[in-house]
């Protein structure tokens, strides 16, 4: 313990020794030195005594806490005013004592009860008294019981008891201020009595009686609260009962009304309406029983609400679609092979069974209803079963089966298996088989015309292929006709083409509509959810299809037709397999770039258009569109127009480029150069190198141009016809070039600050066009473009301001000054920069706790050791005392014995 500091304020005012001061203090506090007469001391109750002791305890504590000897003070080196330091002062004595006490309470008890085992103490009345007989014991116990129950208060919580007790009370269980009214009704102690009344209301009274007792709740006893609770419960009980009764009444009323309308619900014959005057509902008449039973029976057979099918998931829909197509394909194959187009056996059987079940049900219903019209039910039957019913007599089926069993077996194989194998199997079977090769058979080409004729029909037919009437045998002609039709019909299922060649073979000779149907079916059969690898398969086939479209040659009209027909399915597939489509596009563009060919074909141009339609063309960098633009620009830069046809394709490419810039408005010099060069080719002044790059100009022969002809839209295939027509095409070309220029103008005039410079040479060229030779349309278009370009050029030149591109916010000079922390404290251990403050805190806390725990354990051990030592000492002392006692007694005895011996000796002597 640290000695008290000299500057410690002295607890006592006067000087003197510490002991004296203590005495003074105690005296002042009235703990000692209070002279109490013995009389008073004796008259004081024990309660008062304890009160006194408590007070003394408090006083002592306060004195003790001020005792400098009891205090420990840590000297601070640098005293800071107003700073509070934890642990700078302590009361080790007090703390130790506290610890000692708690240990005494817990540890010592544990120590004492160590190795001790608990046991029962028999406290039954009279059990330990051996003098009592069993009967007496029982008697005693019963008496005690009676006494107990008599003295015991009734349960607070027993509602029924209370109810039974106060049931006859007129006021029921009502309370006021938490007190039962009947208790208050005595008015015995309500308010002060008159003689006590001194003119002013007591505060208590005011609170309780005049102000509703808002405060009074505070003083409610537990019993009051419980009573209130019980009262509430009773109230609710009564309420429930009342509602129940009301409901009952309502039900009775409704029952009566139901009787009134029952006539409307039931058949009049079977159930006449009950008399309106209404016998009470709860009194059924005897013969009504039959009617009731009848109703029940009828209801039993009535149509019930069926659980509807849950909404199918996408996968299930796909699976169903696949199944449907497979079924249709099986039928088609059969028809192609000249078989009759019945449903498959299992399906037919299923239909039959279903139908029989239904009929049985109907019969039951009829029996139940008593009177029923059979024809009605027939009409109400599902029509889907009807055809199966009518056309499939068993004999016919059997006949077919017997006749064709071998054949059916060989052809009935699923189409998904290798079709070539299929063919080779079928080859030898029938002479007819030679005709009905599979679609990729070698003799397909010869059948092309026939197929073409049938396409329209077959494409629309997949949904509603009507079965033929149930003839027993087909004539030869009908059979061949049917087979031809089936052959023309598209396959419903087919193996997925694995290579481009396979795909091309598969779609060769088919119309676009057919390909569309096939692709739709393909998508259904190979739906990604239906099998492993279907997604890849679909992606592959999409790329095959795109390549097929891309490479097709033919007129622009056919290409356009094909694209327009296939567009929806293409879009759907590209949406589903974007990566495959993009990869195809990317590869194709790379191939085009590494080996640029001649003029783009219409199909190629339309494919580019498709890509621009589908992919987001406005992206800054797009994996498909950006390479595509490079390819297009390269085309424009390297394919100067040498003829009107070239120029048409070039203008189309320019239009594609501009389509791509519709939103992003990015500058494409190649397109602009191409268009301006095209216009310049018709201008009367020779090309000036300072006007346009001459790389593309001057190559278009315009000498024979007839600009006076009426311009029209440019045919993408090029102009066919005589010289006059060809020279007249120049007018169309120039008009379209002018329109394209107009498009450039509208697209860029707001986007580029260089519009004046870009427009100026174009304007000069436009003015140099041979006015006199030009058609009126050309002139108007030219004038429109020129005026618009001039206007835009002027406007931009006026509005644009000089550049200030390097206008940056000034950057502060890097300063190397020391870091300054506003609230720096040596005591704060944590680093403000430290990221894991929480963890740091936890660590510190853990360390502290661990130290504390170790200390506690050490103290415990010390305490236990001391306790043991004391115990041992006590035992030793006891032993010693005992030994002393024993030895003393033994010494006495020996002394006595010696004395006796000596006496006897003496006696002997004598």
């Amino acid at each position: 313990m640290a000695p008290p500091k000299p500057n410690q304020p002295k607890p006592g005012a006067s000087g003197g020794s510490t002991l004296k001061r203590l005495k003074d203090n105690l005296k002042k506090a009235g703990v000692i030195g209070v002279k109490t007469s013995k009389k008073i001391a004796k008259s004081t109750t024990p309660a008062r005594k304890s009160n006194l002791a408590q007070r003394a305890d408090e006083v002592l504590k306060s004195i003790r806490s001020k005792n400098p000897f009891e205090q420990k003070v840590n000297r601070t080196k640098h005293d800071v005013l107003g700073r509070k330091l934890k642990g700078s002062r302590g009361q080790p004595g007090l703390t130790r004592q506290k610890g000692l006490e708690t240990r005494k309470d817990a540890l010592l008890k544990d120590l004492a009860s160590r190795h001790k085992v608990g046991s029962f103490v028999d406290r039954r009345i009279g059990e330990n008294n051996p003098n009592l007989s069993a009967e007496e014991k029982m008697m005693l116990r019963w008496t005690k019981e009676k006494q107990k129950s008599a003295s015991r208060k009734k349960s607070h919580f027993s509602i029924d008891d209370d109810d039974a007790h106060g049931g006859n009370n007129s006021l029921g269980g009502l309370t006021h201020l938490g007190q039962s009214i009947d208790e208050l009704a005595n008015f015995d102690d309500f308010g002060p009595s008159d003689d006590e009344y001194d003119g002013a209301l007591s505060k208590e009274f005011v609170n309780q009686a005049l102000f509703g007792g808002g405060e009074a709740n505070k003083h409610k006893t537990k019993a009051d609260i419980m009573k209130e609770l019980i009262a509430k419960a009773k109230f609710h009980k009564a309420e429930r009962q009342r509602i129940k009764e009301e409901n009952e009444e309502m039900r009775v009323e409704l029952d009566e009304e139901l009787d009134a309308i029952r006539g409307l619900l039931m058949d009049k014959k079977t159930n006449p309406p009950p008399p309106a005057s209404g016998a009470p509902a709860a009194a059924p008449v005897g013969n009504d029983d039959d009617a009731f039973d009848q109703i029940v029976r009828e209801l039993k057979f009535d149509k019930r609400a069926k659980p509807t099918d849950r909404t199918k998931t996408e996968d299930e829909i796909a699976a169903e679609e696949k199944e449907r197509l497979e079924r249709l394909e099986r039928q088609r194959l059969r028809r192609m092979n000249g078989d009759s187009d019945d449903d498959s056996n299992d399906e037919r059987g299923g239909g039959f069974r279903q139908r029989r079940l239904k009929r049985k049900k109907e019969e039951e219903r009829a029996a139940a209803a008593g009177a029923r019209d059979g024809s009605d039910s027939d009409a109400s039957l599902g029509s889907d079963d009807q055809d199966g019913d009518d056309e499939m007599p068993l004999t016919y089926r059997d006949g077919v089966l017997i006749n064709k069993s071998v054949f059916v077996k060989s052809r009935n194989r699923p189409a998904a298996s290798d079709s070539e194998e299929d063919e080779s199997d079928a080859e030898g079977d029938d002479s007819d088989d030679a005709e009905d090769e599979d679609d990729d058979g070698s003799d397909l080409a010869s059948d092309d015309e026939e197929v073409g004729q049938e396409h329209e029909f077959s494409a629309s037919e997949d949904e509603d292929d009507q079965p033929k009437s149930g003839k027993l045998h087909l004539t030869e002609e009908e059979r061949t006709a049917m087979m031809a039709q089936a052959l023309a019909e598209l396959p419903y299922t087919f193996p997925a083409p694995a290579s481009q060649a396979e795909f091309d073979l598969f779609v060769r000779g088919r119309s676009a509509a057919d390909i569309k149907t096939l692709m739709e079916r393909f998508r259904a059969i190979y739906h990604p959810s239906l099998g492993e690898g279907n997604k890849e398969r679909q992606g592959k086939v999409l790329s095959f299809l795109l390549r097929h479209l891309f490479t097709q040659d033919g007129s622009a009209a056919t290409a356009r037709g094909t694209f327009d027909t296939l567009y929806p399915v293409l879009i759907d597939m590209i949406k589903a397999h974007t990566l495959a489509a993009a990869q195809w596009a990317s590869d194709t563009l790379a191939a085009l770039m590494s080996a640029p060919g001649g003029t783009f074909r219409p199909a190629q141009l339309l494919t580019f258009k498709l890509l621009l339609r589908v992919f987001s063309a406005s992206d800054f960098h797009h994996a498909v569109v950006t390479p595509l633009l490079v390819v297009l620009a390269h085309y424009l830069a390297t394919h100067p127009p040498r003829s009107v046809a070239d120029a048409t394709v070039g203008l189309f490419v320019v239009a594609l480029c501009l389509d791509a810039q519709e939103q992003s408005k990015r500058w494409l010099p190649e397109a602009f150069n191409y268009t301006t060069a095209l216009v310049a080719a018709y201008s009367t002044v020779t090309a000036d190198v300072n006007k346009f790059p001459t790389t593309t100009a001057e190559s278009l022969p315009t000498a024979s141009a007839n600009l006076g002809a009426a311009p029209s839209r440019l045919p993408l295939d090029g102009v066919t016809g005589g010289k006059a027509k060809r020279s007249a095409a120049h007018a169309s070309l120039l008009l379209m070039a002018l329109r394209t220029l107009a498009r450039f103008d509208s697209l860029y005039h707001a986007a580029l600050p260089s519009v004046p410079e870009l427009n100026a040479p174009v304007l000069a060229t436009l003015r140099a066009l041979p006015d006199s030779k030009m058609h009126a349309d050309l002139l108007t278009q030219r004038d429109a473009v020129a005026s618009s370009m001039q206007e835009h050029a002027d406007r931009v030149a006026k509005t644009r301001s000089v550049l200030q591109l390097q206008k940056h916010r000034p950057v502060a000079i890097a300063a190397k000054e020391p870091e300054y922390e506003a609230h720096y404290s040596l005591d704060r251990r944590d680093n403000p920069d430290h990221i894991d403050k929480e963890a740091e805190k936890l660590k510190a806390q853990y360390k502290k706790e661990k130290k504390g725990a170790i200390r506690e354990l050490r103290r415990d051990a010390e305490f236990l050791a001391a306790a043991r030592v004391q115990e041992q000492k006590r035992k030793d002392r006891e032993y010693e005392a005992k030994m002393k006692r024993v030895m003393g007694r033994l010494g006495d005895e020996v002394g006595e014995l010696n004395k006796a011996e000596r006496a006897s000796k003496r006696l002997k002597k004598f």
Binding site: V630, T694, R739
Partner: protein
Amino acid sequence: MTKSAKPSSLPAKDAGALKKHSKEDITELVNEVRSLERAVLLTNANINNMVKIAKLAGDSYPHRVIYAAIHAQRRLFAHFHDKGAMIKAAVTSTDAVATQLAQWLRKQYQSFVTRLLDLVDTDDVSLQVAAVKLLLDLTAVSSADLQKLDPATIFDNVFFIQAVHRIFTAREWSTVFTRDVLDLLLEKDDVRFYLFKNLTKIIQNELNDKSSAVPALRKRKRALHRDDATDTDADPDRVDTTLGRLAQNAYFVLEKLDRFPASNDALTKFMLPRDLIPDKHLVLGAIKHKRAFTDFVLNYLRLPLTPALYKKVLMLMNARIIPNMADPRLLMTFLTESYDQGGSTSLLALHAVFTLIAEHNLDYPDFYKKLYNLFDRNLFHVKYRSRFFRLFNLFMQSTHIPVYLVAAFIKKMCRLALYAPPAAVLITLPFVYNMLKQHPQCMVLIHRVDTVNVDNDPFDMNEEDPAKARALESSLWEVVSLQSHYFPNIATVARIFQDRMTKPGYNLEDFLDYTYQNLFETVHVASLKKTPPLNYEISSTLVREGEPIDELFSF
């Protein structure tokens, strides 16, 4: 008598000569040549076989036979030459038989040489090469003969000039022939020396002969102007005249030419025996070689060159021609004329002109002004673009260029870049950046503090004098326009002017060699990993009604 020995076989062969000879026939004929040769070598009695062999070297025979025949003839003549049967002494000898034989042999020899010269013009390369080889061989032999008569003359140039004339004017050289013949002609120092001498002489003669040369030159200039537009390798107006062939073939010499040995000591390879050449002879002087070459070049440049050839020659100037010339300044007229022509010809002449200015003290006034005028709309489109910009970059490194000039160049380049293909824009932008860094006074082009608004761009694009172009008063709106270029890399590079220009400069070499192909590679992803974004709204038809494609075109 031998003539009638196999009279039956030869005519038959002659008749069928034009037909395709079978392998056996060829072998038989070759064997026949050998046996005839052996017979002559055995005894002079069979000397008439030489006529037969000469016949077998005729056009109608297969190449292998001709090949065998001419070599056989060469050996036989060498045989007689060694025996001294062909020398003049024998011709003038008293022995009538010997004289007759010598005269006959010389006649045969003359026809043999004529045949060889003809063979230079065949369509078979191996025969052509063999003929040239033999001609060189014969040159060596006759030179030796000549020296015996006159020790001062060491080279039979009279003979050689015939050969050279024939080789260079006969037909256009095939690639293989070019390689082999030039190996033969350029390897030996003395042959090369006389080759240049002879070529000079031949060109002079041809030019003097043909008065058409001058119109041809004019034609060339016209063609050059036209050629700027197309700039293709295909040469529509290739002159298939002697002059044209000469120009074309002599070009190969220039192309193949290595650096001449610099000193006399380095001249070591000779066709003639070194000890026979007198010490003071021309062939031993390195400077003489250079002079011969200079004469050749100057005369060559007078030839009517086709535009393609003209450009090719210009491209060779720095690597092959100027270093080998005795005085490159003699090229000055030609080069300034070329440089003044404008277009890609100027671009090509530029390097040579620059070399002359830098190394040979050519004083070229208004070099930069001319350079400025080289910037026209085609500059960025021609294929010599990168070659030009390498040089241009070099010129602009000069610290003595006035700011107005730099600004004019910058402004003009940017203006032209508006129309340029992506590869050219990618050269322009870093170049402009470097220029702005080098000449901070030009920063007003992209950042002008005194905000005097200009109604119109003060810069005059068509002004030929950069001093009057008022570029410094303008702003580079073109750069801002290029920020919305369709090619993403360009748009990115164009933004460097907007950011803090902390980079000291770009290495122009990184940007010079872009083409559409390798630019495509930069944006093309070989195998896509990420699904490229689709349009969120896709129209229901491929070509919507009323959109431009629908309005402009009918399908």
